[in-house]
């Protein structure tokens, strides 16, 4: 069946898919723009570099967690073990530092918690084929349990290692370390996802696991790496948070359940997997933090703030989310 190549209908398909690709990039940016304008209107102080520094630092925490969450969501799964991964790694590492005085042991123990969580997640999802929603939620519960037993509900240690303190609240050339780290990590992730074989395999897995398997790729390897990265990233954020806040406390990771997921979704990555990328999450993290700060600056009760935040996120998603083509 040979038809002429210059078929107008086919050119339209190309234009349509180019338009879609453009929308996918522009939407989060448009959202960011409008949120920023709203912030400026509410409180002109948001336009200062000081405010921006704080926003970006907070966004960095979300964005770094978002690296793992984006990868996980891209393969069609989700990581709900993040909250207590953050808390446990923070508590364990500062405790280890307090007991041994060794910064390397401190960092290694945080890493081990993160990698351990990641491995546990990967095993449940890849080997036992358990829905990641329920599995990672259970892992989260276990991490919470371990934390409780570990600390026996006593107040956690206050000995924050100087390096951690520096990374969390210090800066280089006036730019806070978290922002620098985030920027570098973001570039690496975006390039990795978009231009390497493994990045392709992630998109393939999120699109069609069976086809990925039947193309000669081992899906298990992909699951493992993705969950390990997510675990390690969250553990690292636990360290940064410790340095930022100057202490650890039970439940310090609980805010990082919904918010990074919202950042990922607002950034255009579909929860069913296979579509999207980290650039969107990067922008989404800033949007989400900005929104939270705007609401904080307006005097309202905690409950009302939560309601407004949730409603605005819902509206943003309803109106602006990139819908997968039917």
């Amino acid at each position: 069946m040979n038809t002429a190549v210059s078929d107008p209908t086919r050119d339209s398909i190309v234009q349509a898919s180019r338009r879609e690709g453009l929308i996918r990039i522009m939407m989060p940016l448009a959202l960011l723009g409008s949120t920023y304008m709203l912030a400026a209107v509410v409180n002109p102080r948001f336009l200062t570099w000081d405010a921006a520094r704080l926003q970006l630092t907070l966004a960095a925490f979300i964005g770094l967690v978002g690296i793992g969450q984006t990868l996980t969501i891209l393969i069609g799964q989700i990581d709900l073990a993040i909250p207590w991964n953050i808390t446990l790694s923070a508590i364990v590492s500062t405790n280890v530092y307090g007991q041994t005085g060794s910064i390397s042991l401190c960092l290694i123990s945080a890493l081990l918690v993160g990698l351990g969580t990641g491995s546990l997640n990967a095993i449940g999802v890849a080997v036992f084929r358990i829905h990641s929603l329920i599995w990672t939620i259970s892992v989260n519960l276990i991490l919470e349990g371990i934390t409780f037993v570990y600390t026996s509900a006593a107040a956690p240690a206050h000995t924050v290692p100087p390096l951690v303190r520096e990374l969390g609240s210090g800066s280089i050339n006036g730019i806070p370390w978290p922002i620098v780290i985030w920027a570098i990590a973001a570039m690496v992730v975006i390039l990795w996802l978009g231009h390497t074989k493994f990045g392709r395999e992630i998109y393939a897995l999120g699109n069609n696991e069976l086809a990925t398997l039947m193309s000669g790729v081992r899906p298990g390897k992909i699951y493992l790496v993705v969950f390990l990265v997510s675990g390690a990233a969250s553990a690292f954020v636990g360290l940064l948070l410790t340095g930022f806040a100057g202490q650890t406390y039970l439940g310090m990771g609980n805010a990082y359940l919904l918010i990074p997921i919202a950042a990922v979704v607002l950034g255009g990555t579909s929860l069913s997997g296979g579509v999207g990328g980290y650039l969107g999450t990067f922008v989404g993290s800033i949007i989400v933090v900005l929104l939270d700060s705007v609401l904080l600056s307006v005097q309202m009760s905690e409950g009302l703030r939560q309601v407004c935040f949730g409603l605005i996120i819902l509206i943003m998603m309803l109106l602006f989310r990139n819908r997968p083509s039917s």
Binding site: V14, Q15, S17, H195, N208, M214, S215, G216
Partner: protein
């Protein structure tokens, strides 16, 4: 066509109907009518607009322009259920059943009989379902069985029963036999004849010529969304219809004359590229042994479900455990326990279900074509050179004549035939030693089919070993050098060269040497 409205013999009609999807115009000013007690066939290549027309007729889609008429009066179907209430029901090619519900629940979904309190009356449901199934002669299907436990043929019967339960006067069959074997296909034809005899207006969509000839009273041919021909059964002539379907310029490769003339492989290698000894995977197949030589196309044939697909799956490493026997590729023994093993040994597999097993539908053609050879495209630090990728991909697109707007378009936008070519191209790029095909031309239109067969012969000519399982006898006759037939998981016979013809094949299909009737 305006006279159709006033013609009392017309039951249902669409007049001047057009439909576009985003950038594609699927139907352009199409007229169609159906009479009671008649089977009206719709013929056309993939993408010609047949399925769109059926969906409009059955209420799943609304036309952009044009009007539907039922019993001479204009109607508008708000939904498939509405169409069902008005007496129009469709049987889809891709079944619309619910696996975890029972047969009765499926058949009566949406119009279950209720008790006085408003709850569903399960017993009446089961009885009604039993009755409809009985009308179809499907008494062996139990109303309380779960659909997921049924065989494909039984599921098809349930799908038909579901349509019939609305007691429709118009029934549309959208490629109902594509997944069925010869026995079940005949059964479906019997049902269609019954429906015709009871005065229903039946529409039958297919791209299989032989079936149309068996069953249709009238034929309408579509091409590129336009009606290009209307014929009565008497006027039905294979070449005339093919020309209508494909346009004047294309010469069909599938005519018998052309097949003889096509290039047979110049030489077949001496030592086997693939050797199988006593390969078993219970209960699917037992003690299979054969040799495949480079340059040879070996067909695997038989009735559906005799272990052929499982055999190919086993060779490709799709079984993690339970496979016994010896497999040697180019003399090297290997035991595949994952597709990765098989691919590393030089095997490639084009599976039977490209949409769920082979392609990444929402990703671009470029991505799909290069996915198996990413290692070759790596540069410094694992970076993939897009330039090299596009060059490579273009090579295969040209060679296979894949028709698409651009390599960046998602594969789901391509027609079935072009999708299949993308899948094949992906594997050719890897330069495997052995290529295995599972019903490569299922759901593929004639033009693409010829291209695929041509490519298979080309690959063989390059010295690869080809295994091909097909349910279409013609395909095997046209493409294979040797054919082995499986029955109940064992090889019942082997045919070579001139011996490969439908009659001999069918004899072996049933595991006996006496003839059993020929399906043409």
């Amino acid at each position: 066509m305006e006279t159709a409205l006033h013609d009392v013999t017309v039951l249902v009609a669409v007049i001047n109907v057009s439909k576009s999807f985003r950038a594609t115009r699927a139907l352009k000013h199409v007229d169609l009518e159906g009479r009671p007690g008649e089977v009206h066939a719709l013929l056309g290549a993939n993408g010609a607009g047949k399925s769109t027309l059926v969906r409009i007729l059955s209420g799943a889609l609304s036309p952009d322009e044009g009007q539907l008429y039922l019993h001479g009066r204009p109607v508008h179907f708000a939904s498939p259920n509405h169409a069902g209430q008005l007496g129009v029901a469709a049987v889809f090619q891709e079944l619309s059943l619910f696996p975890k519900l029972t047969v009765a629940q499926n058949i009566l979904i949406g119009h279950e009989p209720k008790t006085r309190i408003g709850w569903i009356d399960e017993r009446k449901c089961n009885d009604r379902a039993q009755e409809v199934l009985g009308r179809l002669g499907a008494v062996h299907v139990s109303p309380i069985a779960r659909v997921e436990d049924l065989s494909l043929a039984e599921k098809q019967l349930v799908e038909i029963a579901k349509a019939l339960s609305h007691d429709p006067s118009v029934i549309l069959f959208d490629e109902p036999t594509s997944a069925l074997g010869p026995n079940e296909t005949q059964h479906v034809f019997q049902i269609i004849n019954q429906l015709k005899a009871s005065g229903k207006s039946v529409f039958f969509i297919s791209h299989r010529m032989e079936e149309i000839r068996q069953v249709a009273d009238r034929v309408t041919v579509l091409r590129d969304g336009v009606v290009v021909g209307r014929l009565d059964a008497a006027e039905f002539e294979r070449e005339k219809v093919e020309r209508l379907m494909l346009g004047e310029k294309l010469v069909s490769f599938s005519s018998p004359v052309h097949k003889q003339a096509s290039n047979r492989r110049p030489s077949i290698g001496a030592s086997p590229i693939l050797e199988i000894e006593d390969l078993s995977f219970r209960p699917a197949f037992h003690e299979i042994s054969f040799k495949l030589f480079p340059g040879e196309v070996l067909g695997i044939a038989g009735l559906e479900g005799q272990g052929q697909v499982q055999l190919l799956h086993a060779l490709f490493g799709l079984y993690r455990r339970g496979l016994t026997g010896v497999i040697r590729v180019a003399g090297v023994a290997f035991h595949p326990s994952s597709p990765r093993d098989a691919v590393k040994q030089g095997l490639a597999f084009v599976p039977e279900d490209r949409k769920t097993q082979g392609l990444f539908l929402r990703l671009p053609v470029l991505f799909n074509l290069s996915f198996a050879i990413l290692d070759q495209l790596k540069r410094f630090a694992g970076w993939i050179s897009t330039h090299a990728e596009r060059k490579l991909v273009k090579g295969y697109v040209d060679r296979l004549r894949i028709l698409m707007a651009s390599d960046r378009v998602a594969v789901e936008n391509l027609s079935g035939g072009n999708q299949q070519k993308v899948l094949i191209g992906k594997w050719i790029a890897r330069d495997p030693k052995v290529m295995m095909f599972c019903d490569p031309c299922r759901g593929v239109d004639i033009g693409a089919k010829d291209q695929v067969h041509h490519e298979i012969r080309e690959l063989a000519a390059q010295g690869k070993g080809i295994l091909i399982f097909s349910t279409e006898l013609e395909e095997l006759v046209g493409v294979a050098d040797r054919v082995i037939v499986l029955f109940e998981g064992r090889i019942t016979g082997e045919l070579a060269g001139e011996q490969i013809n439908p009659a001999n094949l069918l004899r072996l299909f049933f595991g006996e040497s006496s003839g059993h009737g020929i399906r043409t």
